[in-house]
């Protein structure tokens, strides 16, 4: 359950940063990304997947959230 710092970059894409792992990746897709629902599975550009508890509104980026790692990864 890593803490992930999320922010939007200049192109409006979600940037994923895990301080402990120096992991800085752009998110390819977010499962739920509408004004009234946000979260679910997030696919990163390096192929790894994380899961966020869906919430009923868009979080106020940048924000730190807890994520679950879905695949075991490298």
């Amino acid at each position: 359950m890593p803490s992930v710092m999320l922010k939007k970059n200049a192109e409006g894409k979600l940037v994923f940063y895990v301080p402990k792992k120096d992991l800085e990746e752009v998110a390819e897709s977010v499962e739920f990304d509408s004004p009234d629902k946000w979260g679910g599975e997030v696919l990163l550009s390096d192929g790894s997947k994380y899961y966020f508890e869906p919430m009923n509104e868009q979080p106020d980026f940048p924000v730190t959230l807890r994520a679950k790692r879905l695949d075991s990864g490298e």
Partner: protein, 493 residues
């Protein structure tokens, strides 16, 4: 010597690794790589931020060095107590050349050494009482100090002193910020964790001090310069450019900085990060908590300066954008003259770097402006995000080495035969004795500043002065005796 191809570079790495025992070889192989610009992510080719192998000569420092030496030390109006035995503070005293304005010992304390000077008694019975006493002594002797930070050395963590409790009590009694920093040297694998711990201490003990206090008059053009340690006056050379383009620099972190500036930083509109490695943590925190965006910039060499000035200006309105263009135009004649003078003397020379923080990638542009080429680079304590940023800056098939050992560095140099090496004091004399021009790129070899347009002129002069110094012809290298050169002549005949 011609540049090495990718295969030759890979073969060189294998050759150098051969002397290690199997386990060490396997580990070290992960830290050496041939640059490939097509890679998006560095973790495919290089491992970093790992514990150094026992038995090799690493060039790294410790967490205390990262906190006291880098992040906290330059804050000039605070007193930084090196809490523990006397050596750590004394041997690192004033070595980093963080310049500042003020009267040392009266209202600024940058080059002084304050220590609790632990003896056996303090290790056995604990040093908290002594620490409390020291802080009152400091208050009496140096009443103009604006705060105290407690920089832990190894024994503090080992004997379990409660410096936080002492700090809280002293804070009430003195009425000034007292910041305990848990930067014991044994923490982490290098000074990098010390930076992180120091950043966290700033976050927890300093940054919130003026939350809810709106008395500070802000402007839309307020920025903070973060991660510039004013080595030889670097931050001043950077600051003038930012001010000339119309921005207001509210805070300098931490070269020539004050605690008041740090407390005001949450009020700025944009954080400018020079040393990403040591201060990105606090920038990310401010982005989340105060919604202050941050960007990285690079003030080494005119190409990168112009790029950075435009990048910064793009985040402001047209007056600042026009200001940036004005600044670039204003200095053009100056830096064109520098390039015209030194480029012919330095063209085509090859450089190997091994430093820390931001320099292994940031100075590449400055060398390229002088027609020089960086053929090898590496970080003492970089993380993978540093190497991500380095891959694109370096040419293909160049060497990248992480936490290089003394042996590897020497072997690489013998084979690559660079014209100039930029590294630290521990490497300087080895390479000078090998007859290779050397610049100390941690403290600019007692010169500087190197940032900004003013700094570039000094940088170019220094590189020329070192590289084209006639003394290198006089150096007798043991393996280049008359005998061996006769053999070489015979072989080439």
């Amino acid at each position: 010597m011609a540049a090495l191809t990718k295969e030759e570079t890979e073969a060189l790495i294998q050759e150098v690794l051969e002397v290690y025992p199997e386990q060490a070889r396997k580990d070290r192989a992960k830290h050496l790589a041939v640059n490939d610009q097509s890679l998006e992510k560095s973790n495919k080719c290089i491992t970093s931020n790992r514990k150094s192998q026992p038995g090799v000569m690493t060039i790294r420092g410790c967490a205390y060095a990262g906190s006291k030496g880098v992040v906290w030390g330059p804050i000039k109006d605070m007193i930084h107590i090196s809490h523990g035995p006397v050596g750590c503070g004394q041997y690192s005293r004033a070595g980093r050349r963080n310049y500042y304005v003020g009267t040392t010992g009266i209202n600024t304390f940058g080059t002084m050494n304050f220590t609790s000077d632990f003896t056996e008694k303090d290790i056995v019975f604990g040093g908290d009482k002594k620490l409390a006493k020291i802080m009152h002594e400091i208050e009496e002797l140096f009443p103009l100090n604006k705060g105290i930070s407690i920089q832990s050395e190894c024994p503090i963590g080992l004997i379990g002193d409660d410096i936080e409790a002492v700090a809280k009590k002293a804070n009430k009694e003195i009425g000034k910020p007292v910041v305990p920093v848990r930067c014991e040297g044994f923490r982490g694998v290098s000074q990098s964790l010390g930076h992180h711990i120091a950043n966290d201490a700033i976050r927890d003990w300093v940054l919130e001090n003026r939350d809810g206090d709106e008395t500070f008059a802000t402007t839309p053009y307020d920025v903070a310069v973060i991660g510039d340690y004013n080595i030889g006056g670097d931050a001043w050379a950077s600051r003038t450019l930012l001010e000339e383009m119309g921005l207001r620099v509210v805070a300098q972190w931490s070269g020539d900085g004050t605690i008041a500036e740090m407390e005001k930083t949450p009020k700025v509109k944009l954080n400018l990060i020079h040393c990403y490695r040591s201060m990105n943590y606090i920038a990310r925190h401010m982005e989340e908590k105060y919604k202050i965006p941050w960007i990285e910039y690079n003030f080494f060499g005119p190409t990168k300066i112009a790029e950075s000035l435009r990048k910064i200006a793009a985040l402001f309105d047209e007056t600042i954008q026009a200001g940036a263009e004005k600044v670039i135009a204003k200095y053009q004649a100056e830096y064109d003259a520098v390039i015209a003078k030194y480029k012919p003397r330095l063209q085509g020379k090859r450089v190997m770097l091994y430093v820390g923080g931001l320099r292994p990638r940031h100075v590449i542009g400055a060398y390229e402006d002088l027609g020089m080429e960086v053929v090898g680079t590496g970080y003492e304590f970089g993380h993978n995000d540093d190497y991500d940023r380095t891959i694109k800056e370096m040419g293909n098939a160049t060497l990248i080495y992480d936490d290089v050992t003394g042996y590897e560095f020497e072997e690489f140099v013998k084979r690559v035969q660079p014209d100039l090496i930029g590294s630290g004091i521990k490497e300087k004399y080895i390479f000078q004795k090998m007859g290779i021009p050397f610049r100390q790129m941690h403290s600019w070899d007692y010169s500087g500043p190197y940032h900004g347009y003013d700094g570039f002129a000094i940088f170019a002069r220094d590189m020329d002065m070192t590289l084209n110094n006639p003394c290198w012809k006089q150096v007798k290298v043991p393996w280049k005796t008359a005998e061996s050169s006769n053999v070489a002549v015979a072989a080439s005949a």
